[in-house]
């Protein structure tokens, strides 16, 4: 089975690996992992590149812009860049590099992409409101036993379970 090259690692082993990475992050930097924060940095620097005055006057963007720090030169951006490279390396070693759209055969590519954009937009919006995504709020928060982590985790998975029935055609 291993020879086929597209089999994934045992989930528990992968979890152990991910947990050790998270622990290393805590030990080295005192903070956990994150992903949506980097995307926010991209948005913030994009907005301020288009219209700097507007970005500086906005309550939201101005929090992340100041003269001495550039939003793109932040910890999370570099970390997510690492995820991109790490994913690529891992995919290359396991022979999984391939352009494709993953979906249920019941829906068209166009619909899958439309759903991906809507889902992404919802996730992006929610991550800003909820102060972090699955990695930044739920995974990291659970490891530090913070209430916020458990609440966000339960909200995400609870909602996804509750809505799963309505979107079953997209996946199975």
């Amino acid at each position: 089975m291993e020879k086929k090259g597209n089999k994934y690692m045992n989930p528990y082993l992968a979890g152990l690996l991910l947990g050790l990475v998270l622990l290393a992050s805590f030990y080295l930097t005192g903070r956990g992992l994150g992903a949506s924060g980097a995307m926010k940095s991209v948005v913030v620097s994009g907005v301020s590149a288009v219209n700097k005055d507007y970005a500086e006057s906005s309550h939201y963007y101005s929090k992340y812009i100041s003269d001495d720090k550039k939003p793109m030169k932040s910890w999370l951006v570099l970390e997510v860049f690492g995820v991109l490279v790490g994913g690529f390396i891992s995919g290359a070693f396991s022979g999984r590099l391939k352009f494709k759209i993953e979906k249920s055969p019941k829906i068209t590519n166009k619909k899958r992409i439309r759903l991906a954009i809507i889902g992404g937009a919802l996730f992006g919006f929610g991550s800003q409101l909820g102060r972090g995504c699955t990695s930044g709020a739920a995974l990291t928060g659970m490891a530090t036993l913070s209430i916020a982590g458990y609440v966000v985790m339960m909200a995400i998975f609870g909602t996804a379970f509750a809505l799963a029935y309505f979107f079953r055609k997209n996946w199975i």
Partner: protein
Amino acid sequence: MKARYILSIVLVSLGLIAAILPQNQNSSLELDAKQLLNEIQVENYVISIDEMANAMINDDPEYQLIDVRSKEEYEKFSLPGAMNIPFDQLFNEEWAPYIDQVARKNVFYCNGTTLASDAWMLTRQKGYKNNYILKGGLNNWYTTIIEPDEPTLTNGQEAMYDYQARLGAKQFFTGAGAADNSSNKKKAKKPVPRRKKKMVAGGCS
């Protein structure tokens, strides 16, 4: 064997160990007894009278004298430029910016040694840096600067230089140029931003 069984066993046993461990809070700043004992042995927290007198004459901004005696004693007599932090108020929040900082050498003094050494022990144990003790306190200051013993020939050249410097210092502190005691209480130097232990900024937002 299924991975889940092994994982369950390992996690439950580690969890049991974790559950019986006492919960203690580490502090990266505070010293434990062994570390503090090492600091006491190394003894680089004592500032000699000569060094301090020299700094005072040159108005060295690096030093800040701190009088840890009571307010009454301080008002009666204190060294020029000293500020007053009475020992019983040592940990009051208002003094924190002065005793917990990294920019200057704070020199604690009292009449003898006890209060200053108490103050040093307490602040050092909390992890504050840059605090020192004036060796022998005011009594030693008086006998060294104001009534210095004239060195005999056997004391060597070094002692003679020290003696000369002390005579100069005496001139400075008691001579015509010395300011009146009431006005030489210079204002304490402004507090600098203290080294605060703060939580890492993290998360995703």
